[in-house]
């Protein structure tokens, strides 16, 4: 039961610097929404406001509302730890815990959230690794350190780790930018499968990738360096890439700037 995200009037700050300004959008459940835009336009910052990771950066501060179905993530009494458990995240660079084995990496989130029997844990780990299309490659070396895998495998391990706790939403911050084309393809296929179960938001620099994997695309831009980033438009991916309603979007997509 993936959830819908409703953002309204959201601004994020680094100290006194406003990084993104007054963003409102709806992210549909069980679909892939891609964020595109030039560097520094605040798309990653925006993504990190969706699981309250932004406030972890020193000086990070958020104004506005993010509704997950009918609960405001920034409402009073909401525990950021619970938010992050509900909204999973995959990072730009694969970051498996270097001292943990492959198995322990996938089980890490589960072990935080409760006590499981060994057999249950085994089942969930296997299911998650299968869900991340990694099971066949690692099933014989579950006890080896996760840092021994290739970059693409590490990233899929991180995805397995994120989905093992069954989040409602999966945020991906340029998950393929550190990977080779074949690994990228594997991840993109995986995203297509995962959207059956999760609401997925992906930030990408690669417009072909956005066109390939996403159902809806949001274009972000900033007026000038040092000015806050803004949402220009969000629409069906097909429309954004064929017939966007704003000129700036078309300019960016056709490579006229950015």
């Amino acid at each position: 039961m993936a959830k819908r995200i409703d953002v309204s009037g959201l601004s994020a700050f680094y100290g006194s610097h406003k990084a993104i300004d007054d963003i409102s959008m709806t992210i549909e459940p069980r679909s892939v929404t891609a964020f595109i835009g030039p560097s520094g336009c605040g798309k990653s910052t925006f993504l990190r406001t969706l699981n309250r990771m932004h406030e972890v950066t020193p000086g990070g501060r958020v104004e506005g509302k993010v509704m997950l179905d009918d609960e405001n993530l920034y409402g009073s009494g909401v525990d950021p730890v619970a938010v992050r458990r509900t909204v999973g995240m995959v990072f730009q660079r694969p970051n498996p815990f270097p001292t943990m084995s492959i198995f322990d990496n996938v089980a890490a989130g589960l072990r935080l959230n409760g006590s499981y029997k060994k057999s249950e844990l085994k089942d969930i780990v296997e299911r998650s690794l299968k869900g991340a299309n990694l099971w066949n490659e690692v099933k014989d070396r579950l006890n080896k350190p996760g840092s021994g895998l290739s970059g693409g495998q590490q990233q899929r391990l991180c995805i397995a780790r994120a989905i093992a706790v069954e989040p409602q939403v999966l945020l991906m911050d340029e998950p393929c930018s550190a990977l080779d084309p074949i690994s990228t393809l594997a991840i993109e296929d995986l995203i297509g499968e995962l959207k059956e179960r999760f609401t997925i938001v992906i930030v990408t620099h690669n417009m072909q990738q956005a066109a390939r994997v996403s159902d809806r695309t949001a274009f972000f831009n900033l007026a000038a360096v040092g000015k806050p980033g803004k949402l220009i438009e969000i629409d069906e991916t097909e429309r954004i890439f064929s017939n966007p309603s704003v000129q700036a979007t078309e300019d960016y997509i056709s490579g006229r700037f950015g």
Binding site: R84, F91, N95, F97, P98, T99, A162
Partner: protein, 332 residues
Amino acid sequence: MNSSSLSDTPPTPASTDNFASISGKSVRPGDRIFLGLSRGSGIALLVIMAAIAAFLTYRSVLAISGDKANFFTTLDWNATGTEPKFGIAVLAFGTVVSSVIAMAIAVPVAVGIALFISHYAPRKLASTLGYVIDLLAAVPSIVYGLWGALFLVPHLTGLYGWLDDYLGWTGIFEYGDGAARSLFTVGILLAIMILPIVTSVSREVFLQAPKMHEEAALALGATRWEVIRMSVLPFGRSGIISASMLGLGRALGETMAVATVLSPSFLIGKSLLDPGGGTFAQNIASKFSEADEFGQDALIASGLVLFVITLLVNGAARLIIARRKEYSGAAA
């Protein structure tokens, strides 16, 4: 940690040395002199180390062969007269016990402060604190000794009485009335002394813990403590060990702070709170002024034992770190 990662890159391109020989001429005199000087310094350093080992051993052999009692087990230090009898048992016991107490107190507290600075304190406070801790690490040990003797000792009697009331039955924490000039006090003072250096090194390591692993833990819904347990402590473990060993090395060899605080005796008492006992370094400092040449040799012999112990501790630390590094993939 820093040095090892840097030393992976070869210091100078190999070609530079060939440069002179390829040119066909003999090596320039300037280069030869300079290389000679710098290599000579390195060799001088080795010679000094060899000399330290050789001369200490030589004088120790003189002392031990004149010792009429077993040097390792005798509970006495009488290195004068025709029947000198002395042994290091009390000193070894006192040195080890006081250092162990110091480590048991200092390491957890230092790791706590290091975490406080790296992960808990507000940012402004954190950088100031780090600076202050670094400065405190430079306070001379004699100042700790003076403070320990004139301030800490009188303030500990109440606590010791309390410990005696509740834990006296163990024997270890028995405490008669008297000044708190005991091995336990020495341990506490040594703990306070090594706190800054252990904190400083641990903090450095914690700050280097990769942000991306902390974020990974956070994004899984970990609390702050869970983030530290999952990503910071595993990364910092070898750093904590090397910091502790550095502190241990200092505690073992500390002279003045012990000499001012301890009221020495050549007995191994059951209680840690009652005055008495001694350490290698303290014994050398206190016995030196009244020692004749043979007495000084005897002290040198005990110094050699201290030297060997610190060497072993440092060696062990290095081994542990080297092994951890292979396993933990700290390069990630």
